[in-house]
């Protein structure tokens, strides 16, 4: 547009100049013609004023008129009504190119006039003859003897000439004006054709801003018809109302200076606003007043859209550049960095300032290869790209990160960039991503795989990997080995069937059910089954696996391992047998216990009844038949009674002992001191005549079964009481000695004591160290004590000497 603009402007300017010139010429012509015309009329009027009275004056006046006509710069001819030439002044002779009036007279009109003018002349003449009105002013053309055509403006009127009524025609040579007008017309045509053909809108406005001319492009652009715009003054129909002032101001401002493009918003007829660039121009007269305006209007909607797209694209690119995870640096032809993004700063641990100007060959990068060897700067992808002009992609490099004080691993690509027409790149676009974590992950994976491999070796598990879609199945060497094959044994194809067909028929359904359940519902796949070994025997295997599912949930692959568990299964079998045996024993034991209970019941019931009869009837005999029995007989009956009562006690003792063995223990905190006080108090009550001293330590607490502990203390204290019966100043002590973490309790007396030689018999049932006469008893007491202490997880021992008392030391867990 900018290239075309001056042309239109210049054209417009020229056009305006031409129009101004023509207008001025016209003005001059008209003024001249009308002045002459008026003068002539005045002369004639004066002449006609009073013809009779002013005869003399008139003749004089006519002479004056003739003189003035001779001197007029306008051509003047006077003709008769019939058209005969009777006068021609010098000016007309000059215009027509003839020397004398006679010469002019001799030229016929047909020859003098151009054919068009002659035709017009004939037309006018006929009209006059018919008495019709013919305008007094018209244009015509004549052909001079030299062939030149002159255009003339003619004014025709009646005059009194030589006393006769004649016709005077005054001629103004308007050839130059006509030529100018022709040039102008051509210019107009040229301009119109251009302006009409212009894709930009174009308008010509008068000095008030009223549209004189608009081109189709402007109409099309604004949606207004030509008729709607021509004659329309400001505010123009295509100015958005809300922007009228703004547009006024813009134009006013421009008017003060040179022609400057103005960016504005215009409005289409449908109300749509659109951006335009208006290139205004104007012409001014000598006084500096604007004569007319010209405006080229360019619809820049598309350009704006394109600019917006470009802007967005640039924005996008900029954002991408700034925010992308990949580091990007631009390096110039020497490899010096001249731009870098934020990611580059982060990855490399350098600020932009630190990077700017630094080349790839700079030793401060401390670049290394993956194997740790030096990475020479001139082999850097950017340098290679600059040297070869070819892209270098995916080069792994370790770069020292000064902040982290360790190497970061990057994957670099360098793309050379060329200026148009140049073969050598002027810069590179070097990108890199931080793959440190990926490398670490890869390392971790490698280690993990190594570990898995070692673990598999160590566990002796056989690995399998089943491609469910193809049915192919990979078996690790160990897998094959477990069932007696080598890895590449052709008898054992690596396929699902190789495995499935070898499952023991009894286990098959269960295994397949478990497998399908895993594949369909994701349940755990962990099965034991017998698998056919190459030797032909079935061996136990445990197989575990995990399927991998695709996005639709369809299993595509399954991986797992097997283990030979034959030995474990055998061990389990043995264990099962042992358990069964144990259960049997337990049942037997229970039965035995039941029998024992039943036995105890019988003992308590059935053995006592006869004793009661013996005792009861012995007593009946003593009571009812004592008169018939001598003393010996009565003595025997007393012995019967005594024995039966003793046996009753024995039975009770045994029952108690048995009960202690069988009954459940109820553990709670038991205050042994309080219990001992209570027992000693009762003992003293039963034998108020005895002077026996009890020394009982307070605060002896223990966790145990209160019933059993009561029996324990009753027996021990009862024994001490019994065996101090004959001891003067008898003393019974109950206390404890802390022996490590475990408390040892003791009950001591200064009674009859016992011979340590028999201490082993002390705690056996029915074993007595003293005779019944001195110290009556059943021999069950200490056995009971022993049993109670055993049930509490403790131990008991006795110390003593004959006549020097006894001491029982016991612990309870």
């Amino acid at each position: 547009m900018s290239q075309n603009k001056p042309t239109y402007e210049e054209l417009g300017k020229k056009l305006a100049e031409a129009e101004a010139l023509i207008a001025s010429l016209r003005k001059v012509e008209r003024t001249t013609v009308s002045a002459e015309r008026d003068a002539a009329r005045d002369e004639r009027d004066a002449a006609l004023m009073d013809s009779r009275e002013m005869e003399e004056a008139y003749i004089e006046s006519e002479q004056n008129f003739r003189n003035s006509l001779d001197a007029s710069p306008l051509g003047v001819r006077i003709v008769t009504e019939d058209g005969d030439l009777i006068y021609a002044n010098q000016a007309i002779l000059d215009i027509c190119g003839y020397g004398s009036i006679e010469e002019l007279k001799a030229v016929p009109r047909q020859q003098l006039y151009t054919p068009e003018s002659y035709a017009a002349h004939q037309g006018r003449r006929e009209k006059r003859q018919r008495g019709e009105y013919v305008p007094p002013e018209y244009e015509m053309s004549i052909r001079r003897p030299d062939g030149a055509i002159r255009n003339l403006l003619v004014y025709r009127r009646e005059v009194i000439w030589g006393g006769e009524r004649q016709f005077m025609a005054m001629y103004q040579d308007i050839t130059e004006r006509k030529q100018a007008e022709e040039a102008l017309r051509e210019t107009h045509e040229f301009l119109d054709s251009h302006i009409n053909a212009m894709r930009d809108g174009f308008s010509i406005l008068d000095n008030r801003g009223v549209h004189i001319s608009v081109n189709p492009a402007l109409c099309e652009m604004t949606g207004f018809l030509r008729e709607e715009l021509i004659g329309a003054g400001p505010p123009h129909p295509y100015w958005p109302p809300e922007r009228n002032e703004e547009i006024y101001r813009a134009f006013q401002k421009t008017l003060a200076g040179d022609f400057v493009d103005i960016e504005l918003t215009f409005m289409r007829k449908n109300g749509e606003r659109f951006p335009v660039i208006v290139s205004p121009a104007w012409t001014k007269d000598k006084q500096g007043n604007v004569v007319s305006y010209f405006a080229t209007v360019k619809d820049i909607t598309e350009r704006k859209q394109a600019e917006e797209v470009l802007r967005q694209s640039e924005e996008k690119h900029r954002t991408l550049f700034e925010t992308m995870a990949q580091g990007v640096v631009y390096q110039n032809a020497e490899g010096h960095i001249f731009s870098a993004n934020a990611a580059a700063e982060r990855i490399l641990g350098l600020t932009l300032d630190q990077m700017l100007g630094r080349a790839s060959t700079d030793p401060r990068w401390k670049a290394i290869h993956e194997d740790g060897s030096d990475f020479p700067g001139d082999t850097h992808p950017a340098m290679v790209a600059l040297r070869t002009g070819k892209e270098v992609r995916n080069v792994i490099m370790g770069v020292f990160h000064p902040g982290e004080n360790e190497y970061v691993w990057i994957n670099i690509s360098a793309i050379p960039q060329f200026k148009q027409g140049e073969a050598k790149p002027h810069q590179t676009y070097t990108t890199f991503e931080d793959i440190t974590e990926r490398k670490q992950a890869e390392e971790a994976l490698r280690e993990s795989e190594e570990k898995l491999r070692l673990a598999l070796n160590a566990t002796q598990d056989g690995l399998w990997d089943w491609d469910i879609t193809t049915g192919k199945e990979f078996f690790s060497p160990r897998w094959c080995e477990i069932i007696g094959y080598t890895f590449d044994d052709p008898e054992l194809p690596h396929a699902y069937d190789s495995w499935a067909s070898r499952i023991h028929p009894e286990d098959y359904d269960n295994v397949i059910k478990s497998l399908n359940s895993h594949l369909e519902k994701g349940t755990v796949y962990d099965v034991d089954y017998r698998h056919l070994h190459k030797s032909g025997e079935y061996r136990w295997q445990n197989s575990r696996g995990q399927a991998i599912f695709d996005e639709s949930g369809k299993p595509i692959r399954m991986v797992g391992c097997i283990r030979d568990i034959t030995e474990r299964k055998q061990a389990e079998e043995k264990l099962k047998h042992a358990l069964a045996n144990l259960q049997q024993s337990s049942a037997q034991l229970e039965a035995t216990n039941k029998e024992l209970e039943s036995f105890s019941y019988s003992v308590s019931h059935d053995l006592r009844s006869p004793l009661r009869s013996i005792d009861g009837f012995s007593q009946a005999l003593l009571e009812d038949y004592s008169a018939r029995l001598d003393e010996t007989g009565q003595e025997y009956l007393n012995r019967l009674r005594s024995s039966s009562q003793k046996m009753g006690e024995l039975i009770d003792g045994l029952l108690k002992l048995s009960h202690l063995t069988r009954s459940e223990m109820h553990l709670e905190k038991v205050d042994l001191s309080a219990l001992a006080e209570e027992i000693s108090a009762r003992l003293r009550e039963t034998h108020t005549n005895r002077q026996t001293k009890f020394l009982i330590d307070s605060g002896l607490n223990v966790d145990g079964d209160p019933q059993m502990l009561r029996v324990l203390l009753e027996n021990l204290l009862g024994n001490a009481w019994k065996f101090t019966r004959k001891t003067p100043r008898a003393l019974i002590e109950f206390g404890s000695t802390a022996n490590g973490a475990r408390k040892t309790f003791f009950i001591k007396d200064n009674g009859a004591g016992f011979d340590m030689a028999y201490k082993d018999k002390l705690f056996s049932a029915f074993q007595r160290l003293h005779d019944t006469a001195d110290f009556p008893g059943t021999g069950i007491g200490l056995a009971t004590v022993q049993r109670i202490i055993n049930r509490h997880g403790g131990s008991i021992r006795a110390e003593g000497a004959v006549g020097k008392g006894a001491a029982f030391y016991f612990t309870l867990s």
Binding site: S600, S604, H605, D606, R608, R612, S613, G648
Partner: protein
């Protein structure tokens, strides 16, 4: 000392024990009508006026029942449960008089509705004393339930 018209039912299979119990009653001057049933069925027949006792008036409930636990045909606890289930006998005082001192028997006895539990001592003198105490308590001191009068 004690009204004769009131019956004591002794449920005891051991004839020795029956004899000794009778003797103990005599020794203690307990002159009540002592009815002996030597098994559980007979005890219930008596109480519910069945079989050999069909002619008996069911309203004449015993003043006291002395019940051994170990009995032929039907043991003492079953007898106790049955008589406690019957309207006529559900309030009759029952003293379990047995050789057993098993905890299980004590618990079951009381659970089934025994009013008292006495273990027969082997020593006859003690036995006589026990019977005296029982008689004294249940026949004199204790007020019987209204409907059994």
């Amino acid at each position: 000392m004690i009204a004769k018209d009131e019956t004591i039912l002794l449920v005891e299979d051991n004839p020795d024990d029956v004899e000794l119990t009778k003797r103990a009653f005599r020794k203690n001057n307990i002159a009540n009508n002592l009815v002996v049933a030597d098994d559980g069925i007979k005890a219930l027949d008596y109480l519910f006026c069945r079989g050999a006792y069909a002619d008996r008036n069911i309203k004449d409930t015993p003043r006291l029942i002395l019940l051994d636990l170990k009995l032929p045909k039907m043991d003492g606890l079953q007898v106790l449960e049955r008589l406690r289930a019957e309207e006529a006998t559900r309030l009759v005082p029952v003293v379990i008089l047995t050789s057993s001192k098993e905890e299980q028997d004590l618990i079951s006895g009381y659970k089934s509705g025994a009013n008292s539990y006495v273990r027969k001592p082997v020593d006859f003198i003690e036995f006589v004393a026990a019977v005296r105490h029982i008689g004294l308590y249940w026949l004199l001191i204790n007020e019987p339930p209204p409907e059994s009068r």
